[in-house]
């Protein structure tokens, strides 16, 4: 079980950082606790004592969702369920709702936060691929020499390996700033041992923008997770598609070599079969949601169905 001497729920960033500074490093941040509590249970870490538990979910900036500098700010304490019911998020982040419906179940999504998912940095964290396709920038804050130091890191640089991030122990992840992708079609593909409540064996996010006729790719962004130590953008695939008319030939060509992204230690063969299939299916679903012409949708579906 997880125990602490003091549980704090600071109402401001200043208070949170001051409490952390006074704790001599003996603290832990907590948001939804959906990673922390199961970890501190029998069979995994067992009894864990943290002198100070700092619940960051009450800090205003971490609870904010708003436009900023032409992008959208999503506070770290935003639970995944908000991607399904927050109108602005649905409009500007078309890659997320589909990710959220694949994420755990309704009960967990109501607690599980985006910040927790990023700091946990699981190779199969479902929130990571769609945020990669939104070119997410992470904002961190810590107390340095008595003043708040804020810094920004791209998500690509933030996650360094399984469970390893750029965040220092006393740095709070404030939130992510993302490209607004209004008018894009988004899709998320995931497979695990069953439909609900599973760790992804492979997960993939695709967002596309088409020309007004719905027959040509204007922008394509694809990211894959679960197949290596960190989730990655599939830039080769993207480059082959951007600016091109949607044809069967093009779609087939872009699948060649997708299996190179599979670098996991286990289930390589299976994942290498799934990866190109997910690219095809993700693109087909995203094309449909981006307003693809009946022809374009038909072609993409056919390729996705093998």
């Amino acid at each position: 079980m997880l125990s602490c001497d003091t549980y704090l729920s600071p109402g401001s960033l200043d208070d949170a950082l001051a409490a952390v500074a006074a704790s001599d490093g003996r603290f832990r941040f907590v948001a939804g606790a959906t990673d922390l509590l199961p970890w501190a249970r029998e069979g995994r870490a067992g009894d864990v004592h943290v002198p100070l538990l700092v619940d960051i979910s009450g800090i205003p900036d971490l609870r904010t969702i708003e436009p900023r500098d032409g992008r959208i700010w999503i506070g770290a304490a935003t639970p995944f369920q908000r991607f399904l019911d927050h109108p602005e998020l649905i409009r500007l982040m078309p890659g997320m709702p589909d990710c959220a419906v694949w994420f755990a179940d309704n009960q967990i999504r109501e607690s599980a936060t985006i910040g927790g998912n990023l700091v946990n940095a699981s190779p199969s964290g479902d929130g990571i691929p769609p945020l990669l396709t939104a070119n997410a920038t992470i904002e961190l804050a810590a107390l340095r020499d008595g003043a708040i130091r804020r810094r920004r890191v791209s998500l690509v640089d933030f996650i360094k390996g399984p469970g390893q991030t750029e965040a220092e122990h006393d740095e709070i992840l404030l939130g992510v700033e993302c490209d607004t992708l209004e008018g894009y079609g988004g899709a998320f593909e995931k497979v695990g041992h069953r439909r609900s409540l599973v760790i992804a064996v492979v997960c993939l996010s695709a967002v596309v923008r088409l020309d007004p006729s719905g027959t040509r790719f204007e922008d394509v962004r694809v990211a894959i997770g679960g197949v290596g130590p960190v989730a990655r953008r599939m830039t080769d695939v993207e480059q082959r598609l951007i600016g091109q008319p949607i044809t069967a030939e093009l779609l087939r060509a872009c699948l060649v070599g997708c299996e190179q992204f599979v670098m996991s230690r286990t289930r390589q063969e299976y994942r290498k079969l799934v990866a190109p299939g997910f690219v095809a299916r993700g693109l087909a679903n995203a094309i449909e949601r981006a307003g693809g012409s009946p022809d374009a949708c038909g072609i993409a579906k056919e390729i996705a169905n093998g």
Binding site: Y7, G46, V48, P51, D98, N106, P123, P162, R195
Partner: protein, 220 residues
């Protein structure tokens, strides 16, 4: 054996504890994907008397001030301290739904939430939805349709179903909603998907679906 970076502690060390608390800063993490990220900065050992913390919230309309061991989950606070034993402990890891309660109008897994995290919250449990003499429509429908066999998952199923119908009303899509932007309809497929966080080992799913469908007022 719990591992905090390079430091390995045996279960016995953990149980016995020591007077000094060990802080490990930003320790490297364990190798398993499941444990990714969580182990960094962990601190080992629980020694001496448990730490208590005060928390106040309302449960089913009644205000409660509790002084709890900080380890206490919301589920344990409800069951062991307030003796509201309707909410059940099934898997204790957020995977079965038996502990589902409604917090500020939203359903959560109470086993994966610390009680101290709920300062000021309004919580509804199965006891607050209705009583045997004055059942909530969802409770009455479960009785009528035999939406259970052993009954262990039932309080969670009912709390989940009540919150779920509100989510549909609010237009929240699910995995089977064809158009994520259109208003979802309560089809049988929608209902089953949305209730997928509540597991019934007796397999009373058909009857559960009938009960919920009746309350929602649409044919299965």
């Amino acid at each position: 054996m719990p591992t905090f970076g390079d430091l390995k502690l045996s279960r016995r060390d953990m149980l016995m504890g020591t007077a000094a608390t060990l802080a490990l800063g930003n320790a490297p993490n364990t190798a398993s994907a499941q444990d990714a990220g969580v182990s960094g900065g962990a601190v080992a050992l629980a020694a001496g008397t448990p730490s208590l913390a005060k928390v106040s919230f309302t449960v089913n309309g009644a205000a409660h001030d509790l002084n709890l061991d900080t380890r206490t989950t919301l589920l344990d606070a409800l069951r062991e301290h307030l003796h509201l034993t309707g909410s059940k402990k099934g898997c204790d890891q957020g995977q079965c739904g038996a502990c589902t309660v409604i917090v500020e109008g939203r359903r959560i897994a109470s086993c994966l939430s610390l009680a101290v995290m709920h300062q000021g919250d309004a919580i509804t449990t199965i006891e607050g939805l209705g009583t045997p003499d004055n059942m909530h429509p969802m409770q009455a429908a479960f009785v009528k349709h035999d939406g259970y066999q052993c009954g262990y998952c039932t309080p969670g199923q009912i709390c989940s179903a009540v919150a779920m119908l509100d989510e549909i009303k609010a237009g929240m899509p699910s995995h089977v909603t064809a158009d994520l932007e259109a208003t979802p309809q309560l089809t049988n497929a929608e209902l089953r998907e949305r209730m997928s966080g509540n597991i019934c080992r007796c397999g009373a799913y058909s009857n559960i679906a009938e009960a919920i469908t009746e309350v929602a007022g649409s044919p299965a």
